[in-house]
């Protein structure tokens, strides 16, 4: 049960009533429904603010998982051009990963995306966005292509995690993710990651090591799902909401921790309420981030990337309680 979908029901009912009244008022121009419509619209706006004005972490988890949330394909479709490139050249083309070359407002880029389905049929085909080793290896191949042809890498992160199945383990899920992370730490082109929905665990991080990380306002990026975390640490799945709060998985939390660079605002009610506006905002932010990264000489870019990851995480010394590190 998605808590956002639940809360949206009252809104959808109001929308319906407003629509009906407007239709009626067109059919009967003699009658005046203006006051009633205005009252409903005010109620709608206030309900919307009430529901979405200040989302909790738990609500953001559900917004990130909303079935209508725009997928990577929505952003890719808005590129100037895009050619999908398939396959890991060894085992299988993983439909949970979309990769290819494209142009973002005139800038040549290589795209790597985790792709959930927009409906049940696509979800089955895309394995609900849970990537297999061959999907990560397709990514690795394309990272190397990007490096060879000096294409900045633009990733879209949207997965509850890497596929946790028998085949994935047999084919080396660990190795596949490890190689992607390693490659992104050293790849000699700018890397720009955007978390657009769920960023779940190492399976998300495999495409998430980047010079700059952008998050959509209601997306999340987490070491584990709140449910999994609650089951492990509280031994009580009912504590998922508390876990969500404590995990600091929202964009603003993660910006505070120095991990995320930019938050792109979503329309009131979430990205799915106005996909075009969301797409436009994210692409604009991506374009300006790419331009900023393109300004840096390559060696400087790589040094800064190294320093950035080298810095994450702090500690204290046993003897003098001296505090070190940035976060």
């Amino acid at each position: 049960m998605n808590v956002i979908v639940e809360r949206e029901k009252g809104l959808l009912e109001l929308e319906q009533r407003i629509g009906d009244l407007k239709a009626l008022s067109e059919q009967h121009p003699e009658a005046s429904f203006a006051a009633e419509i205005r009252a409903l619209e005010e109620k709608y706006a206030s309900l919307q603010r009430e529901i979405f004005g200040n989302l909790t972490a738990w609500q953001k988890v559900h917004m990130a998982r909303h079935p209508m949330r725009p997928r990577a394909t929505a952003f890719i479709a808005a590129l100037d051009e895009f050619v999908e490139l398939h396959g890991d050249r060894a085992f299988r083309d993983d439909p949970a990963v979309i990769g290819g070359i494209g142009r973002l407002e005139g800038r040549r880029i290589l795209v790597l995306a985790q792709q959930k389905g927009r409906d049940t049929k696509e979800n089955v085909r895309r394995n609900f966005g849970m990537v297999h080793p061959e999907g990560y290896r397709k990514g690795l191949r394309l990272m190397r292509l990007a490096e060879k042809f000096s294409l900045p890498i633009v990733t879209y992160i949207d997965t509850s995690g890497a596929d946790p199945g028998i085949g994935a383990e047999e084919r080396g899920q660990s190795e596949a993710i490890a190689q992607c992370i390693l490659q992104l730490t050293r790849v000699r082109v700018p890397v720009l990651a955007a978390v657009i929905g769920e960023g779940g665990s190492g399976g998300a991080l495999a495409f998430g090591v980047a010079d700059r990380i952008i998050m959509l306002e209601h997306s999340i990026f987490s070491i584990a799902s709140p449910e999994g975390c609650a089951a492990i640490l509280w031994k009580d799945a009912g504590k998922a909401e508390e876990a969500a709060t404590r995990l600091k998985l929202t964009g603003s939390d993660l910006k505070g921790l120095g991990i995320v660079d930019h938050i792109v605002a979503e329309p009131l009610g979430g990205a799915h309420r106005d996909v075009d506006a969301t797409v436009t905002s994210l692409l604009r932010e991506q374009a300006s981030s790419l331009d900023a990264l393109a300004m840096l000489p390559l060696e400087r870019l790589l040094q800064e990337r190294y320093a950035k990851y080298r810095r994450i995480g702090s500690w204290q010394s046993q003897s003098d309680r001296m505090v070190r590190g940035a976060t």
């Binding site: 660990s174 490890a178 730490t185 404590r246 995480g313 046993q318």
Partner: protein
């Protein structure tokens, strides 16, 4: 950097604080073993060869010739998320410190092994299940950087439940931090060998563990990305017993060698001697 004597003092404390009891039951053959004998046999069952999990300090003593110069020994975790579940994170750390005698889930340092100077990090499953937070990430990263600087190979023995949940995304990002540091060693074309011990999963297996030049596993060690229970819940069926074991991994092409603990040091020395130019077998570089 603490002196060898300091380090040994710490090690003794760890060994002394081990859970008490003179006898241990072997999970491999159900034999009851005398703890002292088991420890003298490198925590390997003399009857069935079962490899017990090994505390980091014991492992280091079993691999290093003589002196071991620990680095970053005094690093202790902070609490970036101010974490609380049924206990606070600092409470958990204190309890593990008390129980295991270790201050964190990894010991890193330098020493010689069969006459070859190496950087060595050993993870400790007895501290927070070997999970990787900022301190573990920092020590592994320092090991790689410092090995590159000293121009010596690095060996990491893993034992880990993955990234440490109580440090949230900061812990997950240690996967990237350790990988970035590893590139320094790779660029210097120095060997990096990973020894996978039971168990190694999640954020550790999916970062520096499987990036090694040569990957060794201990017999029957369980190594994988997702935990067995998670997979069973997802696919709703019981997994075969050998799933994710070292033997399963070698058959599926993921590890180079399975090495018994008694041969581990000799085998590592042999591999290093062939990867390092200008060394005869067992002869210092």
């Amino acid at each position: 950097m603490p002196s060898v004597a300091d380090w040994l003092r710490g090690r003794k404390r760890q060994i002394e604080r081990r859970e008490p009891g003179l006898w241990v039951k072997c999970p491999g053959c159900s034999e009851t073993l005398y703890r002292k004998d088991l420890e003298l046999n490198l925590l390997v069952c003399g009857r069935c060869g079962h490899h017990f999990r090994m505390p980091a300090a014991d492992r280091i003593v079993s691999l290093i010739d003589g002196e071991f110069h620990e680095i970053a020994a005094d690093l202790e975790p902070r609490d970036p998320l101010q974490w609380t579940d049924v206990k606070t994170y600092p409470q958990k750390l204190a309890a593990d410190r008390e129980k295991s005698g270790a201050v964190e889930a990894v010991i890193a340092g330098f020493g010689s092994m069969g006459g070859i100077e190496i950087g060595l990090a050993v993870m400790d499953f007895f501290f927070r299940g070997g999970t990787m937070g900022a301190v573990v990430g920092e020590k592994i990263a320092l090991l790689f950087e410092e090995s590159a600087r000293r121009r010596v190979p690095a060996i990491v023995c893993t034992a880990s439940g993955g990234a440490r949940m109580e440090e949230g995304l900061v812990a997950l990002m240690q996967m990237a931090k350790t990988s970035a540091a590893l590139t320094r060693l790779q660029d210097a074309r120095l060997p990096y060998i990973c020894v996978l011990t039971d168990p190694t999963t999640g954020g550790v297996s999916a970062s520096f563990a499987f990036d090694a030049d040569v990957i060794v596993a201990e017999p029957k060690a369980v190594v994988g990305f997702a935990g067995r229970r998670v997979i069973e819940q997802t696919i709703r069926q019981r997994l075969p017993d050998d799933f994710q074991t070292a033997e399963f991994l070698i058959e599926h092409g993921h590890v180079d060698l399975i090495v018994d603990r008694h041969q581990l040091k000799a085998q590592l020395v042999q591999v290093l001697s062939m990867l390092l130019p200008g060394t005869g077998a067992g002869v210092p570089a």
